[in-house]
Amino acid sequence: MANEGNGRTSGTITPELEREVERFITMEAALLDEWRLEEWLELFTDDARYWVPATDLPEGRAGETLGLIDDDIVRIRARVERLLSRHAHAEYPWSRTRRLVTNMRITGLDGDEIRASASFLVYRIRNRHVDPYIGHYEYVFRRTGGELKIRSRTAILDLEVLDPNATVSFIL
């Protein structure tokens, strides 16, 4: 899925940029593990998308294929509101999560957009079960006013089946 080599990159991937992206992704994981979801919302652009394709079709595209999650910014915000309420029963009480996010790399530069990917192993601990979610993220960041924001966040699972995880009820 990496798109380096498409000949459309502009600019240079500098060590500073790599560190900035790594810090961003690491900080995002901490916000999610700590359930600081209001702060997490601040990381997105107003045209952001959050997409989790189906496990049998990791290359599936939103709008053309059935996935697990297809959120625009309105739904991302509503998802946070839902999770922070007491009525998201699948997340009441909240799952504990621990995200190991690694192998981060910038995969392309295109104007003011930066593409990056990272591997994840997210453990969800709930009701005395420990369920691993294994996969990788694909990000598109946009620099607005000097700051990086997430324009697109795709969580692609390597799991063939959500077994026995059942749900993606927290933010993956």
Binding site: D56, G60, A62, E64, L66, L68, R82, V168
Partner: protein
């Protein structure tokens, strides 16, 4: 265990109770495999999944690894995915197109009609070695209704059309929404839940839970303000004009007016945005043209939660979902879900359909994870064996309304009859109201 007393129906008192051991017992699961899953018609796939000769999909049905395939003669067949030599799986990919399947173990080769067409070192076998008898094995029964294929491992199963009984009316109501046929959209939701399969079956038919369990979904939908959209309140939308029905043979449906929810065919909601309005109006007008105002209203402005006994659910709500499931243990059910869409649907409408699908449904929706939490919570609490019964009495003694448990009782009655070794229940429906107040014993 006295299986005759697992369900207790008392019409005089208006009670219907199911013993919770049916959700926890290995013995019951063994009976279910033998008397339900090995005897009923079970869904395997849709014709659109096999477009060209040689197209195949691997499917597990009733615990068997099967190949659902269209042969080079165009005919749809099902094979056990097991080499007739020593047993390795001859088909190693979940889907694809193949003229032949060569077993990777000893290289026996079968064509896509299932015939054994190649044995290496054939001279090692007698000249009259019966190759025909070594074709890939097929389940005894395969049939389809309007492109929905069902298999049965029971050679004596009744014809599919008879089995479907009143469910056909609802299949028609769903499939008729497409003018040029339905197709399965790529992308499958595959998940396993720590709960008994019957908790999912009954949840799939239940609307009583919607207001308390799915508050966050209705709150989300209420955020959207449309230019000229008259919002119906969530309570009236869910309660007005709905009906639960038993459709024979354990099948059932809950049907009600859409309100506060969006439907790609063809009920506009502000969530779809103003841009989608014209297209939805066009789709609706075409349906009115084809079926008349009354049936079009039902197709466009009402939803259905619809179960074909024992394990196949059509949710014709925010989108059309096919959901089928089977037990892997008393406390684990494996679920497969996909989306059906009309072949002629525009790209923009398909996007709305799929987006609307996952707003509510599936492992990441705003509602279905809470369903799963509820059934897992039930399952876990069944460890308290002293709390012996679950209650399904709602509406037993009144004219049925949407949230009543009437179709769920029909499921249970068929289930109970089959567990006791009968082919079907003598009665799946509630007794007529006139019968109430008389001392009518449960059958």
């Amino acid at each position: 265990m006295d299986i005759g007393s697992l369900i207790v129906e008392d019409n005089e008192r208006g009670t219907f109770r199911v013993h919770r051991s049916v959700m926890t017992s290995e013995e019951i699961l063994a009976l279910e495999r033998e008397r339900i899953f090995d005897r009923c018609w079970l869904y395997i796939g849709h014709e659109s999944e096999l477009q060209k000769p040689g197209d195949y999909r691997r499917r597990d049905v009733a615990g068997r690894p099967l190949i659902f395939i269209r042969g080079k003669d165009g005919i749809v067949r099902v094979f056990h995915n097991s080499c007739t030599h020593w047993g390795a799986k001859v088909c190693r990919l979940d889907q694809g197109n193949a003229e032949t399947f060569q077993c990777f173990y000893h290289a026996w080769t079968f064509n896509n009609l299932g015939q054994l067409v190649g044995i290496p070192d054939a001279a090692a076998y007698p000249r009259d070695f019966d190759r025909a008898a070594l074709a890939l094995k097929t389940p005894p029964k395969l049939d389809n209704y309007r492109g929905l294929y069902f298999v049965s491992f029971n050679p004596g199963v009744e014809p599919l059309l008879d089995y479907l009984a009143g469910a056909r009316e609802y299949i028609d109501l769903i499939l008729d929404q497409a003018e040029t046929g339905m197709r399965v959209v790529a992308g499958t939701q595959l998940y396993t839940v720590r709960a008994n399969w019957k908790l999912l079956a009954t949840n799939s038919l239940d609307t009583y839970h919607a207001p308390p369990l799915h508050t966050t979904y209705f709150n989300y939908m209420a955020k959207f303000k449309g230019s000229d959209y008259e919002t119906e309140t969530r309570a009236s939308a869910l309660r007005a004009g709905g009906l639960g029905r038993s459709l024979g043979n354990g099948h059932g449906v809950g049907e009600s007016a859409m309100g506060g929810m969006a439907r790609p065919i063809a009920h506009w909601h502000p969530m779809f945005g103003d841009n989608a309005k014209a297209e939805i109006a066009r789709v609706r007008a075409r349906i009115v043209e084809r079926f008349g105002e009354e049936r079009a209203w039902r197709m466009c402005d009402t939803f259905r939660l619809f179960l074909i006994y024992p394990n196949f659910v059509f949710h014709d709500v925010m989108a059309i979902t096919i959901r089928y499931f089977e037990p892997v243990a008393p406390d684990a059910v494996r679920i497969t879900v996909y989306a059906l869409a009309p072949n002629e649907e525009s790209k923009e409408q398909l996007d709305l359909r799929l987006n609307n699908f996952v707003s509510f449904l599936g492992p990441g929706g705003f509602a279905h994870p809470d369903d799963l939490e509820a059934i897992e919570s039930c399952q876990d609490s069944f460890r308290s064996r002293e709390v012996e019964w679950s209650d399904f009495s709602r509406g037993l003694r009144r004219d049925p309304e949407l949230m009543d448990e009437l179709p769920i009782r029909a499921f249970w009655r068929q289930w109970h009859a089959q567990i006791m070794g009968h082919q079907k229940a003598a009665r799946v429906d509630d007794l007529p109201l006139a019968g109430n107040g008389r001392a009518l014993a449960a059958k």
